[in-house]
């Protein structure tokens, strides 16, 4: 990995939210991360560990309280053209058809009408949405909606794809199918995207999809441990990753038990 190019680099990122004049809540504390070209990184952790917040800081959607993020050498302080994102709740525009939703990002790039049309159509075919171009999101199943979300994100050909719990709202069978499709597209280099960051709380999903699993801990949010997944992708299956899944799960259970034991009153986000 050492000779690989770093495309995304976060240095000492912290984030705190102000609750009122005297109190603030530290959500992220001093997080550094390097994402190399050609790898998939998984953020794993229970809810409230700040994974999604960190992802939004990487994306440029949120500003860090301190620290900086660089992508392909340039500092991120607004959403970058090199990145794209897939949302847990799909975030499709209900008033746009599937085609228009996929073309949403392309149109902002000032492409010609023909180019938008061909690129969007190609992406729709690739993701398996052919025939649904004129449907509206509310007519689709959850799985199809997330395919639209993926197509929209991939259509702008980002270097890095950020996935914020993309499969949490889907049933496991649908989720499995989309995961396999996405990894295949990525491995066979049919898409230009080289790296991905996926936020999840599903251990197996993290292990099967990624090259590195970063386990998060809370109060304040930080990366507690890193697991390298050395099993070749072609050999990964439910059975072959079982030991690793067990190990990571065990680590997580311990972490949660520890947190329960030493739980002390702290300011929580909910009023």
């Amino acid at each position: 990995m050492t000779d690989k190019k770093i495309i995304l680099h976060a240095e000492h990122v912290s984030k705190s939210f102000e609750i009122n004049k005297n109190h603030s809540l530290q959500v992220l504390e001093d997080i550094s991360l390097e994402v190399y070209e050609g790898e998939i990184v998984a953020f794993l952790g229970k809810s409230g560990t700040g994974k999604s917040t960190f992802l939004r800081i990487l994306a440029g959607l949120m500003e860090a309280s301190s620290g900086k993020v660089t992508c392909n050498g340039s500092v991120i302080n607004a959403p970058s053209r090199d990145m794209s994102m897939v949302f847990q709740s799909f975030a499709l525009m209900p008033w746009l058809s599937v085609f228009d939703n996929v073309a949403f990002g392309l149109e902002a790039l000032n492409y010609s009408k023909e180019k938008i049309k061909s690129v969007a159509q190609a992406m729709i075919d690739m993701i398996g949405l052919a025939g649904y171009e004129n449907s509206y999101p509310k007519e689709l199943s959850g799985g199809m909606k997330q395919r639209v979300g993926l197509a929209r994100a991939l259509a702008v050909e980002p270097d890095i794809l950020l996935l914020d719990e993309p499969f949490s709202a889907l049933d496991i069978y649908t989720a499995h199918k989309i995961k396999t499709d996405l990894t295949e597209l990525w491995e066979s280099r049919q898409i230009k995207t080289r790296s991905m960051i996926i936020v999840t709380h599903n251990v197996e999903e993290a292990v099967i999809m990624s090259d590195r699993v970063l386990v998060w801990d809370s109060n304040p949010g930080r990366i507690a441990r890193e697991f390298k997944i050395d099993i070749p992708r072609s050999e990964r299956s439910k059975r072959s990753v079982l030991d690793l899944v067990e190990e990571i799960s065990h680590h997580q259970h311990e972490q949660i038990a520890y947190a329960e034991r030493k739980r002390k009153p702290h300011i929580s986000l909910k009023k």
Partner: protein, 576 residues
């Protein structure tokens, strides 16, 4: 009215006896004032001069505002009663719904300013020797300003109570009564309160207009801000006009601080969706109550009462077998329903024929032209409000800090009735010799703009955050941002705003086509001027014709413009 939820005792140090002192001083003052107002409402006409006259002395204004407030509050009470009774009837009985809904939908958009003359005459006839007739007319005005709107929202929210909540309540064997008070009513509280607040301007509008009518017809005058303002206008007294405006604004702010703001803060807990309370509403009066020792006892009393109301009352009914009285089979039998429809049609037909015989047919041909003038003004005002206030609302709504800053200001501004500004504009128009035909568009806008602004702000701030992130993530900007993202996103809210503004807009169109300043009047050509003219000359048949035509126009507008727009907004642009 609503069950007070259990309030957990906070740590003692939050309480302070100073809060109690202030609270009781305030409560006692309010009680004394209300009693005084209540007492004076029942006085008779027979003063030494034979008439009660409105005196243009600014020192009397606080008293006049008290009287007006009294009417406003009573109107609110009646509106709430109507809301609860008819909202529930419409939500639970199909046969009732089929009649109530179209009626209320229609009433919501009909400009009642046109009818005020008739209602005033009717109420005076009901109480010949008592000021109560005029009081009733004013209270009725307030009622018509807000009741329809409130009932509709109540009906709608009861119908969309999440199924899970209903199922949960059924699993715990709640009867219909208990379920209503524990599930349906709390669920619909935020919407109802919000709508009540938005309807305040309509209520004020109506009360100012009704109080002014007796002044114009020179019969008995009802002491109040509205009659004070009308008197000031006919006497062309600038300082009195300004004083009445100030008194009105002060009154609106006072009501907002002491009634609506605490209620908004309290109702917050009934909100179903957990939008992590981005902008916590604060109210000093609410905090004052919560941090007083008295509140502990008051809460206890309220909880005991609520418990009896929700659980004890049904038990009592069962005990005395009273439940058979209210046990109407849900939906009613088909025969009863048919009979009910036939009766309604017969009654409508009968009065329709009577009305037709009463109307002067000679003026009928003039109507289309007058109708189109007024309609053009209304549509122009709406279009202008949309063009100006949608961008403003989006700008405010996207920034939580701005929402927090502007929300209270806009709430007060929106409660100011449009006719409050008429005197000021009348002065300007008459001194600069401007044409009322054009300027009345802006007078109509004064009423409609707030609905649009309110709704757009609400729409933008409830927009799923993800969608905003998507548009940022994909660098969507400028014209495309408006066309593909923001306008579709707020479209349902714009439509709701326009539809709720419609009633007020027609009202304003009617009222703004004739403006009086001393001996001078300014008039625009239109249906409103026709109605005002004929009522002033006591040509009741002509006035009735004007009103009927207006109703007809409003009905056309509902069927061919608002309904289709609403359907599009609901089906295509709804974010779920």
């Amino acid at each position: 009215m609503v069950r007070k939820p259990l309030i957990k005792a906070k740590p003692r140090n939050h309480y302070h006896w100073r809060n109690d002192l202030l609270l009781w001083v305030l409560l006692l003052t309010i009680a004394v004032l209300l009693l005084k107002g209540w007492h004076d409402m029942h006085s008779t006409f027979s003063t030494p001069s034979g008439n009660i006259e409105v005196n243009l002395d600014p020192h009397l204004l606080p008293y006049y505002t008290l009287r007006t407030t009294m009417r406003l509050l009573l109107g609110l009470v009646f509106s709430l009663l109507f809301t609860f009774i008819f909202g529930v009837l419409a939500a639970k009985y199909k046969a009732a719904e089929r009649v109530i809904l179209p009626f209320v939908n229609f009433m919501e958009s009909v400009p009642l300013v046109g009818f005020l003359t008739f209602t005033t005459v009717m109420f005076i006839a009901l109480f010949p020797h008592n000021i109560m007739g005029l009081e009733c007319a004013a209270i009725f005005g307030v009622f018509t300003g807000q009741a329809w709107n409130m009932m509709l929202i109540f009906y709608q929210t009861i119908r969309i109570v999440p199924n899970e909540l209903n199922e949960a309540s059924r699993m715990f064997h709640h009867g219909p009564w208990t379920r209503f008070w524990r599930v349906e009513c709390p669920y619909s509280m935020p919407g109802l309160l919000w709508n009540t607040m938005v309807s305040q301007s309509a209520a004020w509008f109506a009360i100012l207009a009704t109080e002014a009518i007796p002044v114009k017809t020179n019969t008995v005058e009802l002491p109040g801000v509205g009659s004070f303002m009308a008197e000031a206008l006919t006497q062309a007294n600038v300082s009195a006009v300004v004083w009445s405006v100030i008194a009105l604004i002060a009154n609106i702010i006072l009501l907002d601080q002491l009634m609506f703001r605490p209620l908004v803060r309290w109702v917050h807990k009934f909100k179903y969706e957990d939008t992590a309370s981005k902008n916590q509403n604060t109210s000093w009066f609410y905090s004052l109550i919560r941090h007083s020792y008295s509140s502990i006892y008051m809460t206890r009393g309220l909880i005991a009462f609520a418990h009896f109301w929700v659980y004890g009352l049904p038990r009592l009914c069962y005990k005395f077998k009273l439940n058979y009285l209210v046990k109407v089979s849900p939906g009613g039998s088909a025969k009863v329903a048919k009979l009910w429809y036939v009766a309604i049609i017969l009654i409508c037909g009968y009065y329709g024929v009577l009305l037709w015989q009463f109307l002067p047919k000679a003026d009928l041909l003039k109507m289309p032209l007058l109708m189109s003038y007024t309609a053009i003004r209304v549509f122009a005002a709406m279009a202008l409000s949309v063009i100006i206030f949608v961008p403003l609302g989006v700008w405010i709504g996207l920034n939580q800090k701005l929402v927090k800053m502007f929300q209270p200001i806009i709430q007060v501004l929106a409660a100011l009735p449009a006719n409050l500004f008429y005197p000021l504009i009348a002065i300007i128009l008459i001194s600069y010799h401007q044409s009322l035909s054009v300027w009345s568009i802006f007078l109509i806008m004064l009423g409609t703009q707030w609905y649009i602004l309110f709704n757009v702000i609400a729409g933008v701030s409830t927009l799923p955050h993800n969608l905003i992130e998507v548009s940022r993530m994909f660098h969507v900007k400028g014209f495309m941002w408006w066309r593909k993202f923001m306008i579709p996103a707020v479209f349902p809210y714009i439509v709701t705003g326009i539809i709720s503004a419609a009633g007020g807009a027609w009202n304003a169109a009617i009222a703004s086509e004739l403006i009086t300043w001393g001996k001078m009047t300014k008039q625009a050509v239109g249906l409103g001027a026709y109605i005002s003219d004929t009522t002033a000359n006591n040509e009741l048949a002509q006035a009735a014709l004007g009103c009927t035509v207006m109703c007809f126009m409003v009905a056309l507008c509902i069927v061919f413009v608002w309904k289709p727009l609403y359907t599009i907004a609901e089906t295509k642009f709804r974010i779920n």
